[in-house]
């Protein structure tokens, strides 16, 4: 079978995972609110795609997830796509340090990614409207969100690693380094 078939299959699988994550994020997790925050599955997924499979896939997942979020919930269309794209790229740059059997490093990446996401949103959409209490927002919105996202990462870590292995297992060696 041709290489393109495998790429197609992989892209379809990734799109399906993004759609599921988006639905969980918007329709399920709002019932599971803790300390008035919900976890950020889209950052989690983007970070995972980045440090497991490299920059290209990180950017692809980030841009797509952000684009979908933009379609529904953006004041400025393109904003979330840009933020998630950068997060995917940065995580992809740390791919070399990632080994599947160590969970500490992925947790660190996800936490830092979520904080970066929060800080960008604050700088772009809160500070220009004269909301200068960064410390307040840091400890009441960004930190709780990052901690909650970490908890969710513990649950989704193995399934996502397995899923990644399954997607890659059926592919010939030559297509594995997609990025």
């Amino acid at each position: 079978m041709s290489k393109f078939f495998y790429y197609f299959k992989r892209i379809m699988a990734i799109l399906a995972v993004i759609v599921v994550a988006f639905l969980l994020q918007t329709s399920v997790f709002n019932h599971l609110e803790l300390a008035s925050v919900v976890p950020n599955l889209l950052v989690l997924l983007t970070a995972f795609a980045g440090f497991m499979n490299g920059r290209m896939e990180g950017m692809f997942v980030g841009f797509t997830a952000g684009f979908i979020a933009d379609l529904y919930f953006s004041e400025w269309f393109g904003m979330f796509a840009l933020i998630y794209l950068v997060i995917g790229f940065l995580n992809g740059s740390f791919r070399t340090a990632f080994f599947g059997d160590d969970i500490k490093l992925p947790l660190l990446y996800v936490a830092v990614s979520d904080l970066v996401y929060g800080i960008i949103i604050y700088l772009c959409l809160y500070m220009p409207r004269e909301q200068y209490e960064f410390v307040y927002y840091f400890f009441n919105v960004m930190m709780p969100e990052a901690v909650y996202t970490l908890l969710i990462t513990l649950i989704f870590y193995l399934p996502l690693i397995r899923l990644n292995q399954w997607i890659h297992k059926t592919e010939p060696r030559s297509t594995r380094s997609f990025g």
């Binding site: 329709s27 399920v28 008035s36 919900v38 920059r55 919930f73 809160y126």
Partner: protein, 283 residues
């Protein structure tokens, strides 16, 4: 060599996608672009699934209700019967007053209160994807006659405003969103003020903040009613928002600010009413 080449590739792609996003941002700034045909296509994938999920989660909440014991149900039934009795008494009084009010209104030539507006019910099927903003999706859109700018009510009070419509869904920005501002007045005294959503007040104690209240005679007290005002260009007049819960004088000694407890329970929204009429601003 190969590895090097790939790294350069991914930077080109990054540059390309950043450019695409910036073009989107520019388009949305210049012409209110928000996805166009793509968002219609996407809504045919997402909206049915979101409807399904919200249906299932409502059923789960209902089955939690079913687990109540008999004794609890009997007690609840008793309480409710008492309440019905009280409400019936109240209702007959109110009906008399309503007739009188209608007559007087007719005499004055005032015809509409907001209970007379044409409304349609809708179900909340999804929430915004970030903790920073308070928006939600409802399951009715332009096919059902919903337009951008229509006011949305829940629990008998103002809940938000439609900011985007698709064919089968609409996005509502609630009044607790940090970017929301509503021109309001205190029903008891008629003094104008502004109610703005605040993420900070909402996290601290489920409040919305109230600013620019002109109250030189100190007439406004805690518990006064806050309603939308006539001068608002987006919100219909006289819609209940909540009750004043605290007030303090600003440093300029001219205006006051404080907090408002909203009547709407924003954490547990499942059904809302959309007023099918836009505010006429005479432009």
């Amino acid at each position: 060599m190969r590895r090097n080449r790939r790294h350069i590739d991914s930077r080109y792609i990054l540059f390309f996608l950043v450019t695409v996003s910036v073009i989107f941002l520019f388009l949305s700034y210049a012409s209110n672009f928000s996805g166009g045909i793509v968002s219609d296509v996407a809504s045919y994938i997402f909206v049915p699934m979101q409807k399904g999920i919200s249906y299932v989660s409502d059923r789960i909440n209902e089955s939690a209700e079913e687990r109540k014991t008999n004794a609890e149900l009997i007690q609840e039934n008793k309480d409710l019967k008492n309440q019905v009795e009280e409400l019936r008494n109240d209702l007959s009084k109110v009906q008399l007053e309503q007739n009188e009010l209608d007559n007087l209104r007719n005499l004055y030539g005032l015809s509409q209160t907001y209970s007379d507006y044409d409304m349609t019910g809708a179900r909340v099927i999804a929430r915004g994807s970030s903790n920073w903003f308070s928006t939600f999706t409802i399951d009715k859109g332009s096919n059902d006659g919903i337009e951008v700018g229509m006011n949305v009510l829940a629990d008998g009070g103002l809940c938000g405003i439609v900011t985007k419509t698709g064919k089968n869904y609409s996005i509502v920005r609630s009044i607790i969103d940090d970017t929301s501002n509503v021109s309001t007045e205190i029903a008891e005294t008629g003094s104008d003020c502004i109610v703005s959503g605040s993420l900070k007040d909402m996290t601290e104690g489920n409040y919305i903040s109230l600013t620019n209240l002109e109250d030189a005679d100190n007439k406004v007290v805690q518990g006064n009613t806050v309603v939308t005002s006539n001068i608002s260009d987006k919100y219909l007049p006289g819609i209940l928002i909540g009750y004043v819960s605290s007030l303090s004088e600003d440093s300029n000694h001219l205006t006051k600010s404080g907090t408002v407890t909203p009547v709407v329970d924003f954490k547990h929204l499942s059904e809302v009413l959309v007023i099918m009429q836009l505010k006429e601003t005479g432009e």
